[in-house]
Amino acid sequence: MPAIVRVVDLVKNYYMGTQTVNVLKGLNLAFDEGDFVALMGPSGSGKSTLLNILGCLDRPTSGSYFLGEVNVARMTDDELSEVRSTYLGFIFQSYNLLPQYTVVENIELPLLYQGITPDEATKQWCVALARMVGLGERLDHKPLQLSGGQQQRVAIARSLVNNPQLILGDEPTGNLDTRTSIEIMQMLRELNKAGKTIIMVTHENDIAAWARRVVRLRDGRVESDTRNDTRTIVELR
């Protein structure tokens, strides 16, 4: 399978006054299309920084980041926005829904920045996604009227609305209880089975166990890169 994401000698430095903080120290990683990856590591290991770069929210200090065939490491802000809008889907720890919008409007949001005029077809598509995540009865609810698990499901529906090539999760179950976490992970598993590539950051082994592949970072370098075997996954279920 071709690598959908490839980072080569990825370096990220932060400058705090006169001090330079070396966060990523030359990462080399490749993720295949259809993979389900968990990024792990202690705080300060650089996993969030890597996710931000993978999510085109940040640019590396040096090195390359190939998304498909394209090196996005040196793209302008506008081009990165376009990449996020077209190829990426985000799921955040704190859901990050807009409180003034309904479920359907929140799901629709990424389409607005693709220059698509919302019409009946896009509306139907958003409703279908809401049904898929089990919120068919709550289309016109505002996020604050929903539970945490329901909000995260809206966020998942939103991350799918633009048919992304890559879904990025930043501790998607971090704010949820165990039972709801399992629901969410099952949902992500289904998506992965349907062919979506997912990369998520987590610090819980239970959650990482749902992934096919676990990459551990420490001090800006890859510490380990293992594949979960299929049996363990089934057992955990």
Binding site: L57, D77, D78, S81, S85, F90, L112, Y113
Partner: protein, 466 residues
């Protein structure tokens, strides 16, 4: 006016300003849509209205400055315009192509008075002949010979102003006849004893009868009433040497009749003292063919009078056009002052908007981060906040227009009750368009910085913001 003055209110100013404004608008639009289709603007509009609706009171308070600014511009302009219009109408009634030459009694003329007991001064037939030399540029000259006198009919009398003049008087003054006719050439040529009376004089002398055809007595001579003039607006004293004039007690007789019946010397009795004056013409109104010739002809007339009268300053030249331009200059100055006040209040309003927008941006940092993560470009964020600011100021400007127009109708009523005098108001249409345009401009100007600040936020930082 020789120099072209630049003013936003003049047609030239508007002609220059509107393409500039349109160009600015197009530039902003292009900047925001370098790569996106135009539907975005409509969507941003809906978005802006929605987020403003969430904070109705805040939005209202933040545009209060704009509302007050616009409404005061519109109402003050209307009242200023109304007062100015009054003054201008007054001057126009005197005729812009006219030059008024009047006889003035010299302050120190004891020499002639002592010798003859008759004061001789003022314009003479010779002066008029000299004016004739100016040729074609003069269309007509209407001399007036004015003296106060009592007029009688039966036991009734009125203190009138007897004015000897020519039929052309009717061409330079606007008035309507209630009945009969004005003086004619034949009346003047034949020195007929006919007169035309003003409305008040007619009412006093003939409360019950039809004045036409009846005879009134003026200084021992009988005059047949041939016409009655309808109620006329008095001219206000518009500064300078031009005094206010009341026409309704005038009695008009042919000029030649006046000289023939009453002689050259007019005695006026005023509470015990007697004054004899020899004045041929009290006033000559000269109409010039073209408005551009008013000033040169006026200068020529002054020169002729200086030659003819020497050191004796017993004449005065009034050019209504001068006063018209003076009044228009005053109006322009007033307008400019108002524009300045307006700009101050609109700048203050704009700062209010900027302040609130900056607070909004901080408050919605998280939202900005989310939108950026979901694919919004910097430009989309700029557009969102800019449109929000512009929607606020535009709605504020329109509210200001409505409030201002309401004030134009309400304030004169209140004014009339309190100050017991009318407050003329005339709605100044360009000020409406201009203040709305300026409100929109203020929105763009003061919304730009907060909007850019919102757009330049680091998406990662913004997402982390609580």
């Amino acid at each position: 006016m020789t120099a072209l003055e630049f003013s936003l209110f003049s047609p030239l100013g508007l002609a220059v300003a509107s393409p500039a404004l349109i160009a600015l608008g197009v530039w902003c639009y292009r900047w925001l849509h370098r790569s996106a289709p135009g539907v975005k603007l409509r969507r941003s509009l809906a978005l802006a209205v929605k987020s403003l609706w969430l904070h109705k009171l805040r939005a209202f308070l933040s545009v209060l400055g704009i509302i007050i600014g616009t409404s005061s511009v519109i109402s003050l302009m209307a009242f200023g315009e109304g007062s100015m219009q009054d003054a201008l109408d007054d001057i126009k009634r005197q005729g812009a192509t006219n030059i008024i030459v009047r006889s003035v009694k010299p302050p120190d003329d004891s020499a002639t008075a002592q010798k003859t007991w008759v004061t001789t001064y003022g314009l003479t037939r010779r002066d008029l002949e000299r004016f004739e030399t100016l040729g074609d540029s003069i269309v007509r000259m209407v001399p007036l010979r004015i003296f106060p006198s009592e007029a009688r009919y039966l036991e009734r009398f009125v203190n009138a102003r007897v004015i000897g003049t020519t039929p052309e008087y009717a061409d330079i003054h606007q008035f309507d006849l209630a009945g009969g006719r004005f003086l004619t050439e034949a009346d003047d040529r034949d020195r007929k004893n006919v007169c035309v009376v003003g409305s008040e004089a007619a009412d006093k002398l003939f409360p019950f009868e039809d004045p036409l055809g009846r005879s009134i007595l003026v200084r021992g001579s009988e005059f047949t009433v041939v016409g009655v003039i309808r109620d006329r607006m008095p001219t206000g004293g518009t500064g300078g040497s031009q005094a206010a004039e009341e026409f309704n007690r005038d009695i008009y007789i042919p000029l030649h009749t006046s000289v023939a019946r009453f002689g050259e010397v007019i005695s006026v009795r005023t509470s015990g003292s007697r004054m004899n004056e020899k004045v041929q013409y009290n006033q000559v109104t000269i109409t010039v063919s073209d408005i551009d010739k008013v000033r040169p002809v006026g200068d020529a007339i002054k020169e002729l009078l200086e030659q003819g009268h020497g050191a004796k300053k017993d004449w005065a030249v009034t050019i209504p056009l001068d006063k018209l331009e003076e009044a228009e200059r005053a109006k322009k100055r007033f307008t400019r002052l108002l524009v300045m006040i307006a700009s101050i209040s609109l700048v203050v309003g704009g700062i209010g908007i900027m302040n609130i927008m900056l607070a909004t941006v901080t408050e919605r940092t998280r939202e900005i981060g989310i939108r950026r993560a979901l694919g919004a470009k910097q430009r989309d964020i700029t557009l969102q906040f800019l449109v929000e600011a512009v929607v606020q100021t535009t709605v504020g400007g329109l509210c200001g227009v409505v409030l201002g127009l309401a004030m134009v109708f309400v304030v004169p009523v209140v004014w009339d009750l309190i100050a017991e005098e009318p407050l003329p108001a005339k709605i100044h249409v360009p000020s409406i368009f201009l203040s709305v345009a300026v409100s929109i401009g203020v929105g763009v100007l003061f919304g730009w910085y907060p909007a850019r600040r919102a757009a330049r936020l680091d998406p990662i930082e913004a997402l982390r913001h609580d």
